[in-house]
Symmetry: C3
Subunit: 262 residues, 3 copies
C-alpha cells in the first residue's frame, strides 16, 4: 500500500482547502483535525467559498430546514464546479428526515465518498437500521463488508463502513482496515474528523485510495495516542498530536490494510 504514505505527503505538500458543512458539535474538533494533518479547513456555510476549495465535506449531524436548503445549494454548486464531495450521514436511520436528506444529496452525482457506520449506511440502503445514539453501531463484520460493497454499487461512489474493522469499497475493489482504537468511541466527533480527513485526501488521490489512506492514517494516530494514555480527555489531545506526527515510517510499520474479496 505504497500509496498511503504518498497520499499523506501530497496532502502536506498541497495543504488542500477543505470546505466543511458540518454539525455544530464537532466544528472545532474537525478544523483542528484537518490542521493537524496539515490541510486547510474552511467551516463557513457560504457557497462562494467553494470556488477556492478542493473538496466539500458534508455532515448532517445537526440539520434543520435552513441547513438543508443551504446544503442542497452547496451540493449543486459543487457539482457544477466538479468539486468532490465526501458525505457523512450522521444519524441516518435514526430519523426519517436525516435518511431522506442524506439520500437526496446523491442526486447531483458529486458525492464521491460516503463514510458512515453500519446502521447509517444500512439505513441509506433502505434497510431498517437501528441507530443507537450517533456514535455507536450494532456491528457485524461480514454485514459491514457486504454493505460497503452493495452501497458502493448502488450509489456509484466509494463507501466506507467504519467500525471495529473499516471496510472500503468502490464496488469493484474492497479493502479492510484494521487500524483504530476503541477510545475513539469515547470522544465526540471522531467519525466526523476522519470524514473531514478523507476530504483532504480526496483532493490529492482518487476516492478509493483516498478513503483507505485517511482511515489507515487516522487509525494509526489513534493507536499511537492510546499508547500514551488510556483516558478519553488526554486521548483526544494526543490524537491531534499524532495526526501531526505520523510519517512514512510509522505508516509502513503500523498500517494494517488488506485487499479482500469484493
Amino acid at each position: 500500500m505504497e500509496y498511503i504514505p504518498q497520499a499523506l505527503s501530497k496532502v502536506r505538500a498541497n495543504r488542500p482547502l477543505v470546505h466543511n458543512i458540518t454539525n455544530l458539535v464537532v466544528m472545532n474538533a474537525t478544523a483542528n483535525a484537518l490542521l493537524a494533518i496539515v490541510a486547510s479547513p474552511v467551516m463557513a456555510q457560504l457557497e462562494d467559498m467553494l470556488k477556492i476549495a478542493s473538496a466539500l465535506v458534508i455532515n448532517i449531524g445537526t440539520l434543520d430546514e435552513h441547513w438543508i436548503a443551504s446544503v442542497e445549494k452547496a451540493v449543486e454548486i459543487a457539482g457544477e464546479l466538479e468539486k468532490p464531495i465526501v458525505l457523512d450521514p450522521v444519524g441516518a436511520g435514526a430519523t426519517r428526515l436525516r435518511t431522506e436528506t442524506a439520500l437526496s444529496l446523491f442526486d447531483v452525482g458529486a458525492v464521491k465518498v460516503l463514510r458512515g457506520n453500519l446502521s447509517e449506511v444500512a439505513a441509506l440502503l433502505g434497510e431498517h437500521g437501528k441507530t443507537w445514539g450517533v456514535d455507536s453501531t450494532v456491528y457485524e463484520k461480514d454485514k459491514a463488508k457486504n454493505l460497503a460493497t452493495a452501497a458502493a454499487k448502488e450509489f456509484n461512489t466509494a463507501v466506507a463502513v467504519t467500525g471495529p474493522v473499516d471496510y472500503v469499497s468502490n464496488g469493484k475493489e474492497t479493502y479492510a482496515i484494521y487500524n483504530g482504537h476503541e477510545l475513539l468511541g469515547m470522544v465526540t466527533g471522531t467519525g466526523c474528523m476522519v470524514t473531514a480527513i478523507i476530504g483532504a485526501f480526496i483532493a490529492v488521490e482518487e476516492p478509493l485510495k483516498a478513503t483507505v489512506s485517511a482511515l489507515a492514517i487516522f487509525g494509526i494516530a489513534a493507536e499511537k495516542a492510546s499508547e500514551e494514555t488510556k483516558y478519553p480527555g488526554s486521548f483526544h489531545i494526543k490524537l491531534y498530536d499524532w495526526l501531526y506526527r505520523i510519517d512514512h515510517n510509522l505508516i509502513k510499520e503500523k498500517a494494517k490494510v488488506e485487499r479482500i474479496e469484493p
Copy 2:
C-alpha cells in the same frame, strides 16, 4: 449515600441516550462529558430524536426566536412521551428574555430538575438577581440553601443551586454537596456539563438522588483533576479523564454529601 456509586453503575450499564438542546459554546464539551461518564449524547435540535432518548437536557445559553420555538416544541413532546427534562437556565436574570423563556418551560410539567447558580435560580423565583457574566455567582451559603428549597417547592421539581457548596432539594429533603474545585470556574461550560450529566443520571434514578449523584461525581472528578494540574487547559482535559476513571472506591473515599435541614 450508597445510591451514588450504584447510580454510576446503572449509567454505565445502560449508557442512557441523553438528548441535549444546548448552547453552541459548550456542545462539544457537553458531548465529551457525557461520553466520559459513559452515557450516549445526542445534540441534535430535532424533536423526533426524543422518541429514542431517555432524558432531555435544555440549556438556554444561546437562545434566539428560532431556538425558543424549537425548545417549546421539544418540551411539549417530552411531556407527552414522559421523558424527564433537566433545565439549565443559563443567564436567567441577565436578560428578561432568558428569565421568561426559562420560566415558560415549566408549564408542561416535564421539568424534573432545575440546575443553576444562585443568581439564575433567584431570578426565576422573581427576585432581582444580578448576573455577573454567565459563569459566576454572588454566592451566599445560607441564601443558596434556602433558595434551593424554596424553588423546589415553587416549581415542584428537584432544584440544584450550585456554587462553592451545591445545595439540592426536592422541597422535602435537602442535601449539601461539598465536592468540587475552583478551577471549574476557569473552564467554560462546566456548569452545562454537570447539567448534562444529571440528564444521564435521571435516566436511571429518581430526580433528587440523580442530581446529588451527578454533582458529587462531577465534583470528585474535578478534585482528582486538580491534583494533577493547577492550570485551566490541562484541568479541562483531566476532568474528562477522571469522569471516565471515577469508580465506587473513589466515590466512597471522596464524596462529601450531607443531608441537611430543609
Copy 3:
C-alpha cells in the same frame, strides 16, 4: 512597555465582561481563552447582554443573513452605549459578502480595534487580497507594517495586522510585536482568541496599548507552551495554561515589542 504587565493586572482585577459575537467554530476556544486570562466571556447573540458588557468582540467567521442583521443591531447598540468594539474580519477578501459586511460595521464609529491577517485587512482597504483558507496569510513584512498604518488612518481605529511579526498602529504610533510561535497556525481559532483577548484589554486600556498588550501576552503564552510540546493538540491545551500562568516577570523577560516608524 510598563503598560503591558499593568494592563494584565487591570484585566485580572476587573475581570471585564467581554461580549462575543463570534463564529461557531471557535466559540468554545474563545470563551476558554478569555477565562484563562481571567476575563468573563459572554457568547450570546443577544443585544440586551451588551448593557452589562465592557466590550464587544465581533468575528465574522460564519456569517449568514440572520447573523448579519443581528450584528448590525449589536453594533448600533454598542455605539449608543459607547461600548468599544473589536472587529475580526475573518475571511474578508475571500468572499464579497464578508468584505462588505466587515466594512459596513465601521459606519457607527464604535469599532476601536481591527485585528486581521494581511489579506483580510488588505481586502478591507480595497486591494485585491487573496485569502488562502482562513488561517494563513501571504505575508510580507514591510507590506504588513504599511498596511497597519494605512488602515488605521483610513478607518480611524487601532489596527493590528498579525502574522510572523504583528504590527499595530493607530495612524500616529506603530508597534512591532515579535512574540508568538508557528504552532499557533496549527490550532483553529487562535486568531479569534487573541481578538477576544484584545476585547478584555480594551475594557481597561486605550485601544493601541490594549492591542499591543494582548498580542504580546498571547505571543509569550504561545512561546511558553511551545517549550513544553511541539505538537498541536498538546500545544492548544498548554496555551490556555500559559494564558493563566503568565505574570509580570514573564512579560518583562519575554516581551519583544518595538516602537517603529509609523
